[in-house]
C-alpha cells in the first residue's frame, strides 16, 4: 500500500489524505443527499499469510458486493471501496476474494440520524467500530499431500501383503527352529498320520499348551 502511495502523483495523495481524515472522525461518510447515502469502507488483507497460491495480497481481484448482487464494486489500490446512493435501512455487504473467507457484514444506515452507520459481522455477531473488513481465515482449497513416510507404505494394501509375506518367510522358519525337537517330531508324525497339516498344530503356543 505504501508503495502505491509513493508512486502515485501528489494530488492523489492529497485526495486520499482527505479521505483518511474524514474516515477517522466518523465511521463512514454518508453524504445526506436526497437520493441516498454513501457507505465507505475498507478491505484489509494481510499479505503475510499467503502460502504460494491464491492472490498475493492483490486487491485488483477483490469484489465487494452489496445486498447479494444489487451493486458490485472494486477496491482502490489502498483497499477502500464505496457504495453510493444507498437507501436508509439495513443492508448487507459481502467480500468475494479467492483464498480468504470473509464474513458478510450487516450495515445499518440510519435515516433519522444522517451519517450514522452501524456495522456488525453476521458470522460471529461482532460489532465493528470502523468499516474495516478483514478475512476471518484463509481458505486452503487443496488437500496437503502427506510427506512420504514408511507408515503410509506399510499401511497400504500392498504394504500389508509384503509385510505378511516377510513374516511368513523369515519369522515362521525361526519359530519352527525354536520348537522343541520332540514336539517337532510329534507334529510331523501327526502330519503324516492325518495327511492334512493344520496351522494351529505348527504354532508354538498351541504346542506348548498341549
Amino acid at each position: 500500500m505504501a508503495s502505491t502511495l509513493r508512486s502515485s502523483p501528489i494530488p492523489l495523495i492529497l485526495f486520499l489524505q482527505l479521505c483518511f481524515s474524514f474516515l477517522s472522525t466518523t465511521l463512514a461518510i454518508s453524504s445526506g443527499s436526497s437520493d441516498g447515502y454513501t457507505i465507505n469502507g475498507r478491505v484489509k488483507i494481510e499479505s503475510t499469510g499467503v502460502k504460494g497460491f491464491g492472490l498475493p495480497g492483490k486487491t485488483s481481484n477483490v469484489k465487494v458486493i452489496l445486498n447479494g448482487g444489487q451493486w458490485v464494486t472494486f477496491l482502490r489500490p489502498d483497499g477502500y471501496f464505496s457504495f453510493h446512493n444507498v437507501s436508509a435501512g439495513t443492508h448487507m455487504i459481502e467480500v468475494a476474494a479467492i483464498g480468504y473467507f470473509f464474513s458478510p457484514v450487516r450495515v445499518d444506515v440510519s435515516a433519522r440520524n444522517p451519517g450514522k452507520i452501524q456495522a456488525a459481522l453476521t458470522e460471529n455477531r461482532k460489532g465493528l467500530t470502523e468499516l474495516v473488513l478483514e478475512p476471518l481465515r484463509d481458505e486452503q482449497y487443496y488437500e496437503i499431500r502427506e510427506p512420504f513416510s514408511i507408515m503410509s507404505v506399510v499401511k497400504s494394501p500392498m504394504g500389508l501383503m509384503m509385510g505378511f509375506m516377510l513374516i511368513v518367510m523369515f519369522l515362521m522358519p525361526k519359530l519352527v527352529e525354536n520348537m522343541d525337537p520332540e514336539e517337532m517330531r510329534r507334529a510331523q508324525e501327526e502330519m503324516r498320520n492325518q495327511g492334512v497339516p493344520s496351522l494351529s498344530s505348527l504354532l508354538p503356543g498351541a504346542g506348548r499348551a498341549n
Binding site: 492523489l12 458486493i65 447479494g68 472494486f74 439495513t90 479467492i98 453476521t122 458470522e123 482449497y141 487443496y142
Partner: protein
C-alpha cells in the same frame, strides 16, 4: 444377483461414508478432470493501445458487463473485470495513456483502471436528477494544469472530471432546460467545448462552455418545426446532421461560433425514390454519415456549407463500418466490411477520398460465424513507412477475430459467455476396425512413465520429474477421444448461446467439437428478433435404431413477447448438422418432454401454447397412436406469477377450432390455487428433474426401522413472498415481510405442505430431488441467509414393517400408487444459517441414484461449493444417540459448514455464474458438473468417493513390483525348502 450387488454397494457406501470432504483435490491434480475457460462476451466497444513499445493490447467492454484487456498478438486476456448485473458499460476510453476509463450504470459511475494490471484507480459517482443518454468524451489534447479532463454527460448533467483522481471539477445541470445532450464537441486547440442537444423534439440548443469552470459562454437555440427523430451524427467539429421526425429528410446543422444554421435536404433528392424508412447508423466519421434505407447503405458526404451529396451506395445492409481513425498528416481512415459468398471483404478507405483504398483484402470466413456485426480498426507503421491496418471484428455468433494481412490472426469464441441452456449428449460408440486406444507406444516408455509416477508417490521425484508427471497426466489422450468410454466420463455438452449458435463441448478437455449457427434462429424476414429458449434431447438411440445418430431439439421463439410464434430445430449431435427446422404457427408457453418414445427412439414432446392448446411433436401417425393411449394420464400445471394463480390442466380432445389438425388438443382446467394478492406473490417454483432416478423408496433408519420416502413426479414447490418484500435486502422491516412455501400435488392440486417463515424475504433458490426440497432465502431478523430442508415420508406404508404381515401378504406394498389416493404423509423440516448469497443451486445426479447426494451451491463469489446432503438432514439433533451416529447423522449446528476443500471449483472463479448443470456418468459413483456464466467450468465429482473406480494416481507399477517380488519370494523359499529337505534326508 443384481440385487445382491446393490445391497453390497449400499453396505459399502455406509462403510465409507465419513464426514470429511470427499471432493478434495491435491494441488497437482488440478486440470486432470476439470477444465476452465474464460470468456468476455459480445464486444460493444474496443479501444486499441498500441502506441508505445511493449505489449500491444486492446481494451474492450462487452454486453456481459465485462471490461477486459486483451493481448493483441494472441487474444489472451491480460486482465478482466465483471461488473455487477445492473452496471452495464456505456462507454470506454483511455486517458493519460495509462488509465482505462469506463462509464457505466447509465452514466452514473465513472471508473478508472490501471492499464497494465487492471487495478481500479479511482471511482466517481456522478449524480443527476433524471435518467438520460450518457456520453463520455476524453480528449487527449485538452490539458488543464497537466490534467486530462474527462467530460461526461449523464443523468441530465454535464460533468468535468479530473482523470488523475476522479474528482468532479465542475458540473452543469441541464435538467431545468430539459436538454438532452447529443454530442460533446471539443474543437482542436481551444479551451471551450460545445454541448449540443435537443430540447423536446423540435428545438436544438448549442452551449459553448468554458472547460476550466463550466461557465456558459454562449447559448444559442434554433427551432425546427418539423421535429427531429432523435438520431444525429457529428460530421465535423462544427456540423451535425440529424434526421427529421418523418425520417424523410436530413438536416445539417452548423453552429460555427455559436450561431446555429439549419439546412434541410430530402433523402429522395439524394438517393432517388425509395419506400423504406431511413435509419441513421451511428458513426464517427468526419465529413461523412451513413444512413440505411431499403437494404442499401448510403454514405453521405457533407460538403461545404452543409450541402449533402451521396458518396457511395452499397447494396449490403449488413455491412459494418468502423469509426474514423486518425492517421498522420491530418488524414482519417475508416474500415468497411462487406459480405460476399463465403468471404468477407475488408477495405480501409480515407474519409475524404472515397476511391483511395488504403487496403483491400478478402478473407475466407467460416459461414458458421454469420455476418460481421462490428469492426474496429487500428493502424501500425510498416517497415517501408506505409500504414498497415489490423481489424478487430465481432461476428454474428459473438466471436471476436483479429484480421491482419488478409489472415485471421486469432479468434475467440465469446458466444460461449452467454449460454442459455445445456444438455449432455453421448459420443459415438467405438466401432470395430477403428483404431482402439493406441497400445502404449512401447513397453519401455510405459514402464518409464510408471516409474516416474511411482517416484512421485514416494515423494522422491525431482522438480523436473514432477513437471513431467503433471504433463503426462494432463496430456493423456484417453480423456479427449471422440468416442464413448466405459465409465461415461466422455460426453458432449450441447450448449445453446444467446446468438443462436449451438456448440458441442467435449467434456474431456472442453474443446469445441463442432458448432453450428442455426439458420432458423437467425434474424430473417420469416423470423424477426429470434430468441433461443431451450435444448432438449430429441432422439437418444440405444435399443432400436442404433445406427441413427442422436439429435437434440432446439426450441426458440420469433419475437420478444411470449405470444410470438415458435421455432423448432433438430440438430444431429455427432455432426452438428441441422436436420430439420419448423416455423410453428402457434406460440410456445411450455414444453413437456413426455416419457414415451416412438420406434425411432424419438421422444414425444408436448408444446403448450399461450391459448392453452397442446401440440404434439413429432407429427407422425405413430406418435399420435402412442399418445392416444396415454391421453387421460397426462397432466400439467401452469403458473401465472403476476396474478398469483397456479392451475392444473388435463387434455380433453382434439382442437375444435383447428379442424383436421389431429396433433392439436384442447385442454381443460382441473384445479386452481389463487394466492391472496395482498399478502403473497409467487417468487419461485421448482419441480423435480424429469430424468432423476431414485434407487429405493425405503430409507433404513436407526434400530432397523424403515421409513418410506414419498416419491412423486408430480410435486411442485412454490415459494411466495409478501408483496412489499420483493425488492432488495434492506427495503423492508422484518415485521412486514414473510415467506410462505408450499408443496403442491400437480395432479389434484392438493397442498401437501405449507409453512410460513416470518421475517424473511427472497430471493429464493431451491432444489427438489427425491423426497426433499432445499431452499435458500434471507432471514431479516438474524440478517443472515438461511437454508431449509423439507423431507416428505409416506406414512401409509409405514406399518409394513411387521414381518408377519409381509409373510401373510397383508401388506399394501403392491397397491398402485395414485395421485388420487389421499396420501398420508409426514414432513420433517429443519433450517440452518448459510453464510453466502447464492446465485445458482443444483444437486448431483448419478446413473442409478444409489450414491448419496450433494448440493452444488454457486456462491456470490462465483465459486461452486459442494455441500453434503447429510448436513441438511431434518433428523439431525444436537446430541445424536450412538445408533444415530452409526447411521451417519451429524450433530446439529446452527450454521452449515463451509469447508474450503469442498469447493469443486477450487481456486478458480466462474465469473458471472448463472447456472449449474449435472449429468450422471455411467459409473454410479460419479456425477459430471458443468457450471456456466461468463466463464465455463467442468469437473466430475464423486459425492461418496470413487468406490467403484481406482483413482488416477493408483500406482500400477507398485502393484506389479509387489507381484513380481511375491513370485520371486515364492521361488526363493521353494528352492530353500527343497535344499533343506534334501539336507534332512541326507542326515
Amino acid at each position: 444377483m443384481a440385487m445382491a450387488t446393490r445391497v453390497f454397494l449400499l453396505l459399502f457406501l455406509v462403510l465409507i461414508s465419513s464426514p470429511s470432504p470427499s471432493n478434495s483435490l491435491y494441488e497437482d491434480q488440478v486440470g486432470l478432470m476439470d477444465w476452465h475457460q474464460q470468456y468476455i462476451g459480445k464486444v460493444k466497444h474496443a479501444v486499441f493501445h498500441t502506441q508505445k513499445a511493449g505489449r500491444k493490447r486492446v481494451v474492450v467492454s462487452t454486453e456481459e458487463n465485462v471490461i477486459a484487456s486483451l493481448d493483441l498478438r494472441r487474444g489472451d486476456i491480460f486482465w478482466r473485470h465483471v461488473l455487477g448485473p445492473n452496471d452495464a458499460v456505456d462507454e470506454i476510453d483511455i486517458a493519460l495513456g495509462k488509465y482505462v476509463i469506463t462509464l457505466s450504470s447509465e452514466g452514473s459511475i465513472l471508473r478508472a483502471w490501471n492499464l497494465p494490471d487492471g487495478q481500479m484507480v479511482w471511482e466517481s459517482f456522478l449524480q443527476g436528477p433524471k435518467p438520460s443518454k450518457s456520453l463520455l468524451s476524453v480528449s487527449a489534447n485538452l490539458k488543464i494544469d497537466k490534467d486530462n479532463v474527462i467530460f461526461v454527460f449523464g443523468k441530465g448533467c454535464l460533468h468535468a472530471v479530473s482523470s488523475i483522481d476522479g474528482e468532479v471539477l465542475w458540473k452543469k445541470d441541464f435538467a431545468d432546460e430539459s436538454l438532452e445532450v447529443q454530442q460533446i464537441i471539443h474543437p482542436l486547440g481551444s479551451d471551450m467545448i460545445y454541448a449540443v442537444g435537443f430540447v423536446g423534439l423540435s428545438q436544438l440548443d448549442a452551449y459553448q462552455i468554458n472547460v476550466r469552470n463550466g461557465e456558459v459562454l454562449k447559448h444559442r437555440s434554433a427551432a425546427f418545426p418539423g421535429g427531429f427523430c432523435g438520431e444525429v451524427s457529428l460530421v465535423s467539429s462544427d456540423t451535425l446532421v440529424a434526421l427529421d421526425a418523418t425520417r424523410s429528410s436530413l438536416i445539417s446543422i452548423s453552429f460555427l461560433d455559436g450561431e446555429i444554421s439549419l439546412q434541410q435536404t430530402h433523402i429522395s433528392n439524394l438517393v432517388g425514390d425509395s419506400f423504406g424508412m431511413a435509419v441513421m447508423l451511428p458513426s464517427k466519421l468526419s465529413g461523412m454519415l451513413m444512413i440505411k434505407i431499403d437494404n442499401y447503405m448510403v454514405f453521405v458526404r457533407v460538403a461545404d456549407e452543409g450541402k449533402l451529396e451521396v458518396a457511395e451506395k452499397i447494396n449490403d445492409a449488413a455491412a459494418a463500418v468502423s469509426d474514423a481513425l486518425a492517421l498522420s498528416e491530418g488524414q482519417q481512415a475508416f474500415g468497411l466490411v462487406e459480405h460476399g459468398g463465403n468471404k468477407i471483404h475488408l477495405t480501409v478507405k480515407l474519409v475524404n477520398d472515397w476511391n483511395g483504398d488504403l487496403l483491400k483484402e478478402s478473407i475466407r470466413m467460416d459461414h458458421q460465424r454469420g455476418c460481421v456485426h462490428k469492426i474496429f480498426i487500428n493502424s501500425y507503421i510498416r517497415t517501408d513507412r506505409s500504414h498497415g491496418f489490423r481489424a478487430l471484428i465481432v461476428m454474428e455468433d459473438h466471436s471476436l477475430l483479429l484480421l491482419q494481412q488478409g489472415e485471421i490472426v486469432w479468434s475467440r469464441e465469446d458466444g460461449l459467455a452467454s449460454i442459455i441452456d445445456v444438455t449432455a449428449s453421448e459420443l459415438p460408440v467405438e466401432k470395430e476396425g477403428v483404431s482402439v486406444a493406441k497400445v502404449e507406444h512401447n513397453l519401455f516408455e510405459w514402464l518409464k512413465g510408471h516409474m516416474l509416477k511411482l517416484k512421485g508417490t514416494l515423494m522422491l521425484a525431482s522438480p523436473e520429474d514432477m513437471i513431467a508427471i503433471q504433463g503426462m497426466r494432463l496430456k493423456s489422450s484417453e480423456k479427449s477421444k471422440m468416442t464413448r468410454d466405459h465409465n461415461g466420463f466422455r460426453k458432449l455438452l450441447i450448449v445453446l448461446t444467446r446468438a443462436g449458435k449451438l456448440f458441442a463441448l467435449h467434456t474431456g478437455d472442453g474443446r469445441v467439437a463442432w458448432s453450428a449457427l442455426l439458420h432458423s434462429l437467425r434474424n430473417s424476414e420469416a423470423c424477426a428478433y429470434p430468441t433461443g429458449l431451450n435444448v432438449y434431447q430429441w432422439q437418444v438411440p440405444h435399443h432400436h435404431a442404433m445406427d441413427e445418430n442422436p439429435s437434440v431439439l432446439v426450441v426458440g421463439r420469433c419475437g420478444l413477447g411470449s405470444d410470438a410464434p415458435g421455432v423448432l430445430s433438430f440438430v444431429d449431435t455427432y455432426t452438428g448438422k441441422e436436420l430439420d427446422s419448423l416455423f410453428l404457427t402457434h406460440s410456445i408457453e411450455r414444453i413437456i418432454p413426455l416419457s414415451f418414445t416412438d420406434s425411432r427412439e424419438q421422444r414425444l414432446h408436448l408444446i403448450i401454447d399461450t391459448d392453452h392448446h397442446a401440440h404434439l411433436y413429432p407429427r407422425t401417425p405413430e406418435a399420435i397412436g402412442i399418445f392416444q393411449h396415454e391421453l387421460p394420464n397426462i397432466y400439467w400445471y401452469s403458473v401465472e406469477a403476476e396474478n398469483g394463480i397456479i392451475r392444473g390442466h388435463a387434455l380433453k380432445s382434439n382442437c375444435i377450432l383447428q379442424e383436421g389438425d389431429e396433433y392439436c388438443f384442447d385442454t381443460r382446467d382441473l384445479w386452481s390455487i389463487v394466492f391472496p394478492s395482498e399478502s403473497e406473490k409467487i417468487l419461485a417454483t421448482v419441480t423435480r428433474k424429469l430424468n432423476e432416478v431414485v434407487h429405493t423408496q425405503a430409507k433404513v433408519i436407526t434400530d432397523q426401522d424403515v421409513m418410506y420416502k414419498y416419491v412423486s413426479k408430480n410435486l411442485l414447490f412454490v415459494a411466495t413472498v409478501a408483496p412489499k418484500a420483493t425488492g432488495e435486502i434492506g427495503s423492508v422491516t422484518p415485521e412486514e415481510s414473510w415467506l410462505v412455501v408450499y408443496l403442491i400435488d400437480t395432479v389434484t392440486g392438493r397442498i401437501i405442505y405449507r409453512m410460513t417463515h416470518h421475517g424473511t424475504q427472497g430471493p429464493v433458490h431451491a432444489v427438489f430431488s427425491e423426497n426433499w426440497v432445499v431452499y435458500h432465502y434471507f432471514n431479516l431478523r438474524a440478517h443472515r441467509y438461511e437454508m431449509s430442508v423439507v423431507e416428505i415420508y409416506d406414512q401409509s406404508r409405514a406399518d409394513n414393517k411387521d414381518v408377519w404381515k409381509l409373510v401373510l401378504g397383508k401388506h399394501n406394498l403392491t397397491s398402485p400408487v395414485s395421485s388420487y389416493s389421499r396420501p398420508e404423509v409426514i414432513t420433517k423440516s429443519q433450517f440452518y444459517f448459510f453464510t453466502h448469497s447464492v446465485k445458482a443451486m443444483a444437486v448431483t445426479s448419478t446413473a442409478k441414484g444409489i450414491t448419496s447426494k450433494q448440493l452444488l451451491i454457486g456462491t456470490i463469489g462465483d465459486q461452486v461449493l459442494a455441500l453434503d446432503k447429510r448436513y441438511l438432514d431434518p433428523r439431525r439433533t444436537i446430541n445424536p444417540s450412538q445408533s444415530e451416529r452409526e447411521e451417519g447423522i451429524i450433530p446439529l449446528t446452527d450454521s452449515l459448514p463451509i469447508i474450503p476443500q469442498s469447493y469443486v471449483t477450487h481456486n478458480l472463479k466462474v465469473e458471472g455464474l448463472r447456472g449449474i448443470v449435472t449429468a450422471p456418468a455411467k459409473l454410479e459413483s460419479t456425477t459430471l458438473v458443468f457450471a456456466y456464466g461468463v466463464d465455463l467450468f467442468f469437473t466430475r465429482i464423486a459425492p461418496s468417493r470413487t468406490y467403484d473406480l481406482l483413482t488416477d494416481d493408483f500406482s500400477y507399477a507398485l502393484l506389479l513390483i509387489t507381484i513380481v517380488a511375491l513370485v520371486a519370494a515364492i521361488f526363493v523359499t521353494w528352492i530353500l525348502s527343497e535344499r533343506k529337505e534334501l539336507q534332512e534326508k541326507w542326515r
